[in-house]
Structure formats: structure tokens, C-alpha cells
């Protein structure tokens, strides 16, 4: 069999789907956790800040593989039984949250204080200020490193193979062991990873372009490209 037979095999597609699901779910939860931690880190409540910092210290200071094996082996002893996939999601997203917290905090701090003041004077609540004023601006700072984290997660998710999640790497290893064909199976897995990372990179670039006001402005000038967030009116000149 050539590596192309493996690339297009149902097993590889299925396990690529698992890798993708593991990555996306862990990243989404990691971003939500990172947002909460990032907000706490920029809050004025000192004990809350210490807790967030302690969390980040713990999860960034220990190997994610250790965290994964801990979740898989120790939680059942505490009566918390999860599937391997769920264990991997728990470990990867908790780890990711620690990294995203720093990224999101930097993004929040990049927004000028005057923006909050102006919004506050207009009567917006703290939550509305975050939603309509701060986050859309912080997003431009947060997005590029988050794209990197996404691609990192796609690769880190391969660690889940050690707790028997049927991801790309584990499938490749199993087939390799059965067929004594490491070269073709690993090359096939590598191709799947490369396709996924490439697609992610393109998606991140597309979102970055959408957030760029200078492009939005020139799109408006041309007319048909007017993004849906803008009223369908024609501007000056």
C-alpha cells in the first residue's frame, strides 16, 4: 500500500475528525476559561487575582502530558469517570486556559482607558462595555496569538493518544504496528495534520482581515463587499 491509500482511508478520515474535534472543543473551552481568568487578572479584587495567578502558575509550570495522565488516572479514583476523549478535553482545555489568560489579558490592556470612560459616560454597563467596546478592539490583539495557539493545539492534541483517544497519531501507530509499515502510515498522518494546520491558518487570516477597519472601510467604498454589521447606506465621497 502507498501512503496515499492510507491518506484516503476511512480510518484516517475518522481519526482526523477526532483530532479536529478534540482541538476545537479544547480550544473553545480554553478560550472561555482564558477569558474568565484574563478578566479576573485585570480585576481590582486582589484575592481573585492571586487565585488566577496560582492557576496559571500551576498549569504553565507543569507538562501538559503530566496533566493529561493525571486527569486520566487520578480522577477515576475520586469517583469522576470520563471517556478518554473527555479526559483529554479536560486536560487540554485547562492547560490552554492558562496560556489564553495571558493573551487575553494583554488584549484587554491594549484598549485605551479612555474607551471605557467614554462608554461609561454614555451609560453602558460594565458588561456592555466589555461586549461592545473593549472585546472588539482587544480581538485584534488577541487573534493572531490565538491562531498560533490553535495550531499548537492541533499538534498537542496528539498527546491524547497516550490515554487511548483514537486520534490521528494513535490510528497511524495501530495500523503501522499491524502492517509493519511505519513510513507510509506516519507520512499519511503527517499529511492530515498539514492539511488541518493549513486550513486553520487560512481561517485565522480570514478572520483577521474581517476585524481590520481599514479594509472594512475600503470594502464599504466598493459597495458590494459591505459587511453585514454595517448599515446598507452609502457614505460620503
Amino acid at each position: 500500500m502507498s501512503f496515499l491509500d492510507y491518506v484516503f482511508s476511512a480510518t484516517f478520515f475518522q481519526s482526523a475528525g477526532i483530532t479536529l474535534a478534540l482541538t476545537v472543543v479544547s480550544m473553545v473551552l480554553g478560550i472561555v476559561g482564558g477569558l474568565l481568568l484574563g478578566l479576573v487578572k485585570t480585576s481590582s479584587v486582589a484575592p481573585a487575582r492571586w487565585l488566577a495567578n496560582g492557576y496559571i502558575w500551576l498549569f504553565r509550570g507543569t507538562p501538559v502530558l503530566l496533566q493529561l495522565i493525571f486527569v486520566f488516572n487520578v480522577l477515576p479514583g475520586w469517583g469522576l469517570r470520563f471517556s478518554p476523549f473527555t479526559c483529554a478535553v479536560i486536560a487540554l482545555s485547562m492547560n490552554e486556559a492558562a496560556y489564553m489568560a495571558e493573551i487575553i489579558r494583554a488584549g484587554l490592556l491594549s484598549v485605551d482607558r479612555g474607551q471605557r470612560t467614554a462608554a461609561h459616560m454614555l451609560g453602558l454597563s460594565e458588561r456592555q462595555i466589555l461586549r461592545w467596546v473593549v472585546l472588539p478592539q482587544a480581538a485584534r490583539v488577541i487573534l493572531p496569538p490565538t491562531g498560533n495557539q490553535f495550531i499548537g493545539m492541533l499538534k498537542t492534541s496528539a498527546l491524547a493518544s497516550v490515554v487511548a483517544v483514537q486520534d490521528l497519531l494513535l490510528s497511524a501507530q495501530r495500523i503501522a504496528a499491524a502492517n509493519f509499515d511505519y513510513v507510509n502510515t506516519l507520512v499519511a498522518a503527517a499529511i492530515h495534520y498539514l492539511v488541518l494546520t493549513t486550513l486553520f491558518t487560512l481561517a485565522v487570516n480570514a478572520v483577521e482581515r474581517r476585524l481590520d477597519v481599514t479594509r472594512r472601510a475600503s470594502a464599504r467604498r466598493k459597495g458590494p463587499l459591505t459587511p453585514p454589521v454595517m448599515p446598507a447606506t452609502t457614505g460620503g465621497n
Partner: protein, 250 residues
């Protein structure tokens, strides 16, 4: 249009604002009457911005209290209660939301805070942008506008909440001189139609023409206040005389 009989809209009573124990505003009492236009003058570091921020409910005070239409919203030892756009504020640095068009900047608060339907908010925003001379710029982003145009959008944005009083902190200080006039013109029109305005500025021409009353601050205190002409022409306090002589010499 001095309106000495109209009711007091905004009132600070013996307020002190300190940073790290140093009082920047010291025991200041100031009442702003409905329809009045008040200009606050004084040297750099006098505490003008800090006092304006206190009036806006942006700073906690260490002594005294501040009330709006007779209702106290800030008092010593508590965080000021958030208002809902009743007090509008315009900043030296404009602080427009850079990710929104002029129209979106103006409609954001009416829609989100007041729950006004999008179409109605937009119609009102357009009227306001026309009023400040920016009919052509509704769909422009702040980075596409001059400083003077941005400041006029900021004024329209504050007006969209139909505030009872507008506070301006050096609204033209960040502008190139050629754009100063258009902003002062909008402010003058506002004052002329009876809007209550409180303006910190170094624009003496504006103060003379548009202010009913001037307040002179130095070292955190109100040194002197009175009707515009009288205070400009016959300042009683030596520090006011010195300040006016210096600034008018320029």
C-alpha cells in the same frame, strides 16, 4: 442668557479628591444651573480636569457630595452611582470607538442603554451628525476623519443620550488650530439653544463670547467666580489677574 433663577442641575458640595493623600481638588463647592454655560479656567495642574471628572461621576470623592437634579449620586467614601447618560462628556482625546463608523458610535448607547430600535436610533443619529456638520461622514470610521470631525462626532455621540448637561474637558486642545473653530462653533450653538454646558478650556475668545459665568481654579480650589465680563474685566483676586494677564499676552 444668565439664568440666575433657573434650578440647579448639578451641584458639588464641599468635595475633595485626593491621590495618595494629596488633595488635588480641595473642598470645592460649585452649582451649575439649568441652561447655564460655565467655563472653568486655571493654570495647568490646578485640578480642573479632576473636578470635571468628579462632576461626571468618574472619580470617588473623599469629602462632600455631588447631586444631579437634587439626587445625590456621589458621596464621601462610596463609589459614584452610574448615571445613564444624563451627564454627557466630551474628552480632549475624543475617545471615539475606532471599530465603529460615526453613525455606529452615535447609535451604540441609545440602542444598548435605552433600547431604542435601530432604525429610529439611526434616524436620530443622522440628524445629530447633520447638526454638527457631518452629514457626509456618517459611514466613515474615526481614522478617516480629521481631529475636528472626530470631536464633532464625539459631541453628537454624547448628545444622542439627550443629556441634561454636557461637560467638555479641553475639547480643542488636541486639535490643529485650523480645526478648533468648527468645534467651538458647535459648542457655541449648543449653548445658544439653551443646553447646559461646563467647559474647561484655554480658549479665551470662546469663554468671553459663550460663557455666562467663569470659574477660576488654582491649586485645587475655586479662587474666583462670577459673570464672564465682570470677571474678565475686573478680576478681584491677584492670582486671577496674573493668570489672565499671562494668557492674554499670548
Amino acid at each position: 442668557m444668565t439664568m440666575t433663577t433657573s434650578p440647579t442641575l448639578l451641584r458639588a458640595d464641599g468635595i475633595t479628591r485626593s491621590y495618595h493623600g494629596a488633595a488635588v481638588v480641595k473642598d470645592v463647592t460649585l452649582g451649575i444651573r439649568e441652561g447655564e454655560s460655565v467655563v472653568i479656567l486655571g493654570p495647568s495642574g490646578a485640578g480642573k480636569s479632576t473636578m470635571l471628572r468628579c462632576l461626571a461621576g468618574l472619580e470617588p470623592v473623599q469629602t462632600g457630595e455631588i447631586s444631579f437634579r437634587g439626587t445625590r449620586f456621589a458621596a464621601a467614601g462610596e463609589q459614584p452611582k452610574p448615571l445613564r447618560g444624563e451627564i454627557g462628556m466630551v474628552f480632549q482625546q475624543f475617545n471615539l470607538f475606532p471599530h465603529m463608523t460615526a453613525l455606529e458610535n452615535v447609535t451604540l448607547a441609545p440602542r444598548r442603554v435605552r433600547g431604542i430600535p435601530a432604525a429610529q436610533a439611526e434616524a436620530e443619529a443622522r440628524d445629530l451628525l447633520v447638526k454638527v456638520g457631518l452629514a457626509e461622514k456618517v459611514d466613515h470610521y474615526p481614522f478617516e476623519l480629521s481631529g475636528g470631525q472626530q470631536q464633532r462626532v464625539a459631541i453628537a455621540r454624547a448628545l444622542a443620550m439627550r443629556p441634561a448637561v454636557m461637560l467638555f474637558d479641553e475639547p480643542t486642545s488636541a486639535l490643529d488650530p485650523e480645526f478648533t473653530r468648527e468645534v467651538l462653533e458647535v459648542m457655541r450653538a449648543l449653548a445658544a439653544e439653551g443646553m447646559t454646558i461646563v467647559v474647561v478650556t484655554h480658549e479665551m475668545g470662546f469663554a468671553r463670547r459663550s460663557a455666562d459665568r467663569v470659574v477660576f481654579m488654582d491649586a485645587g480650589q475655586i479662587i474666583e467666580e462670577g459673570p464672564t465680563e465682570e470677571t474678565f474685566d475686573r478680576p478681584r483676586h491677584a492670582r486671577t489677574q496674573h493668570f489672565l494677564a499671562q494668557i492674554l499676552a499670548h
